[in-house]
Symmetry: C2
Subunit: 611 residues, 2 copies
Amino acid sequence: MRPSRERFTKLLLFFGSLFIGTLCVAPKHDPLDTAAQRRAEALHRLDTLILLTFISVLIVIVLTAWLFKHYRFRFVHESGLTLIYGLLIGFCIKYFDIGLWESTTIDVAPTNVTLQLREPPDYLRLEVKEKEQSQAQSVSFHYELIEGFYADKRKKDEQKIEQKTAFSPEIFFNILLPPIIFNAGYSLKKRNFFRNIGSILAFVFVGTTVSCLVTGILLFVLTKIFAMGFAFQELLVFGALISATDPVTVLSVFTEMRVEPDLFALVFGESALNDAVAIVLTNTIDSFSMSTETVDLNALLGAALNFLYVFFSSLLLGSIVGCLTALLTKLTHIADHSLLETSLFILFSYVSFLLAEVVQLTGIVAVLFCGICQAHYTFNNMSEESRATTKQFFHVISFLSESFIFCYIGVSVFVAGNQKWNLPFLFFAMIAIWIARAVFVYPLCAFLNLKRRPRIAKNYQHMIVFSGLRGAMAFALADRNTATENKQIICATTVAIVVMTVLFNGGLSNWMIEKLGIKHGDQIPNEYSLPRTDSAGEEREMIEPVTTPTSSGQNPWDKAFLPRKWYNFDANFMKPLLTHANPSLMDTMPPFTWPIAKFFTSDRQMAGGSL
Amino acid sequence: MRPSRERFTKLLLFFGSLFIGTLCVAPKHDPLDTAAQRRAEALHRLDTLILLTFISVLIVIVLTAWLFKHYRFRFVHESGLTLIYGLLIGFCIKYFDIGLWESTTIDVAPTNVTLQLREPPDYLRLEVKEKEQSQAQSVSFHYELIEGFYADKRKKDEQKIEQKTAFSPEIFFNILLPPIIFNAGYSLKKRNFFRNIGSILAFVFVGTTVSCLVTGILLFVLTKIFAMGFAFQELLVFGALISATDPVTVLSVFTEMRVEPDLFALVFGESALNDAVAIVLTNTIDSFSMSTETVDLNALLGAALNFLYVFFSSLLLGSIVGCLTALLTKLTHIADHSLLETSLFILFSYVSFLLAEVVQLTGIVAVLFCGICQAHYTFNNMSEESRATTKQFFHVISFLSESFIFCYIGVSVFVAGNQKWNLPFLFFAMIAIWIARAVFVYPLCAFLNLKRRPRIAKNYQHMIVFSGLRGAMAFALADRNTATENKQIICATTVAIVVMTVLFNGGLSNWMIEKLGIKHGDQIPNEYSLPRTDSAGEEREMIEPVTTPTSSGQNPWDKAFLPRKWYNFDANFMKPLLTHANPSLMDTMPPFTWPIAKFFTSDRQMAGGSL
């Protein structure tokens, strides 16, 4: 063995020296080119360093989350933990100058002095000359407008690092958010969700709107009293964006405690769906003022119609994309190629988001309902492997995106240049949001309890109020546009509210559940228990969702709002059309007389009689 | 049911009108702010549209790929198909002005006229005034330097859309490439790979270097004859980057045809590993010239040492990160929480890449070997669910990234502003790369055949030459820096070579395999057959890799280069340290006398005697 290895080494050496020899003819280099390349390399290293920091923090978060789970330490949860780490990093960056990019910024003016700029141009072209005399060596460099970063002329020197750490809202809205929302729809526990759909929708539509209005009005009164110059519309926008509650933390607490499944469905359903309402509401209020300055009733009606149009069109579009995927997986044999099937599934789900955005609808709503349709129809058609892969894929992606966002929120408290702190406003806002939440939860529950059986008990109502944590969506909406000082105050206030609610309410959720005497864990009779999160259970849940008659048979909740016709339509038409259905359904019975159809028909007749 | 629904509708209407009423107080708006917001929205729509286009194309690609697979149409493969679609889209964008963003670009100069710019500043600050008289309304907008986009002063009007479609090399190198390379390492068929490791390493190190030199020298001679002003160093860089062969297309053809596994291992191993060598080689040659203008032998030796240092440090770093993950998964019970385990696995794998980049090593090499370690050690420690998830996750991500890159290469042919076509150079380059490939494959095979049993037959050698497709890595390296005209020519040439080799060589691979009489499909005896790609088989392959003595027992290939000591070290020390090992190994035998250890010890003694 030895001789040949030596020969190999010699060969390597020979080729190595040959290689070295060829380098002798090094040409002279253009210094401008070199400078640009050096800059590109330095920037690359900085980008990588920032990414590395975030990824390392994510690792630490995962490890700590695991330790906490392992030792059943329950007062800080993943999102709270992530926030805390984010805050720590932000603090370090701010006060130890870590990661500061020594950038140069110069003031420029148009070369054409007669040009009157009314809005910022998209690109600037700057000529840099090698030496004064040589005309040939001049190179034009192009500069692109930085979005959402508007500086006050007076404070020039502060904005260095922010420009590098502040990641663009585009990335947030186009890349990080869709998988989170899709996963919320895709992993929805459909049975409990649909059993409570009426109450959830009431919370989502009425609740969010009321919360938005009450917050806006309260803050308007308070800021007027203390003479803080906020426009009513700005406060309404704030009310709309702060009404988006966050499902992440509550979900993890509730799952761990195994609380009563109907409370779980109410809180989770509300927080998953009201993101969509909040985003449409914010956009509507925002765009409303932009188009017109004098307001007449027609414009108002137009705005309201626009809100409904945008919401339901997005819903429809997402559902259609989901159904298309279902048809495609049903009619082709693509299930033979699991990789292609999975890719197709992921791509189609993403398309629902992008398509909605392009036609000026709301991608979040579309992707949420696409997720629900995918779980309801497409999931049944897929191969075993693709089922597991898609579920895990979105679970992981969504977990990582969420962690990243919470970490980023924490960091932004210290380093973002677009946040302006105003403690009185923050104080007022904290009061306003809890009043607003109480104002809609208790009356709405009272109203729902007229019909609902079992009623939503008082302690459940307290818990619903307490569960109103704010999270990623509120932050994203506030961070999107921080052009004016008031908007920067709103952004800072939102960040503070997110941090406080996640740490305080999230951390005390366990204690509150015990304190309020809400059934959880082994206190719940077996048939009520929350579906376990292990994969086998979830899959069963996903495969036989509506076909189990228990959903309406055992528990008559929400009869008032339950869209029974929809169930019939779904079971008799949509499921057979879009899925391979359950084998027992197709194989054991002659067509057109499936037991489900029978059940629902008789049930409808019965229900029709009783109501 | 009806009355309550009506009541609900009325309630909704009531709240709706309340909501509308509150909008009456719309404040006046700052036009500059409005303009910026309008611009942000328009940009967002354009970004989304571009993303939507790419995702839609990916869907079409997946569907066509499936159809082709379904109907066993073999002359165009996924990557070829993707390229063709990319070309079509690029053509459409170019000639039908689709997606053209009506941007405004203005020339600017520093306001401080005495300032002498020697290199471009990082940011520009431009003041835009609302009206001439009001000082308060002036807003400063910030502009960021666009990387890698240098314009000739003479051609001002051409660069509009390119700026939007040209995605930054940062995204390519930091986001798209790592999963592809990691997946190559993670899904490596280890048994066949390690059986041929000696030959593969010879191809990778000697082959890539020779190919780089021969291409550079040939082109230098040709361009000198025809008086095209290329520096020798530029041509060497081109030689280095064009030496990176692409595994994607060949892999899919070979897998489908089920060619002889040793040929498969040789071609795949070479193409997977030489990306890493090419990137280090390119960087070394590039950086070499930057630091110094007069060359002495010390500097040359330094460059060669630097090459070795970078390659092996990166290798070590990646392996260490992989082993750390293995230790972590072995020593903790994180396997109980599959989601956390999977996330940790993904994050650690990514960290190997980022860490290497930050300390100025090569991330690609690190992530490749991290992938191999993860498959070799960590995989054994993970829960069933995480095994399946991580495998599928990287498979899907890598598939999508690859498709995106190939599509993008196609698009860039028409729309990129940083490519300059030069047909004579392209012609010379095509000749040079095939000569360079033949020049190292045949002699190297002859040399290897001195020791190898069975020898690499002549038809196998032809096939190895023929399989030298170029792909994503070559494109990425060429696209990274296009500051000078020569570099733009090199970029265009690289794109053309990628398109031609993928379409021509990729398309004719099937035909070539038949023509050359290479064993494939059922012609191969069963014990030689390629491991099937179905998940069960692959998993088995991954779990019991080195423990099967057949790898050295049945097939004595590559004895000369087989690092047998490494096997002993691995089986006796690394595997027991880093993994739970196979239960059969630990449970059935007393410690320190595992059959593997015995086998290797005796085998080494035997081997030592015979050599």
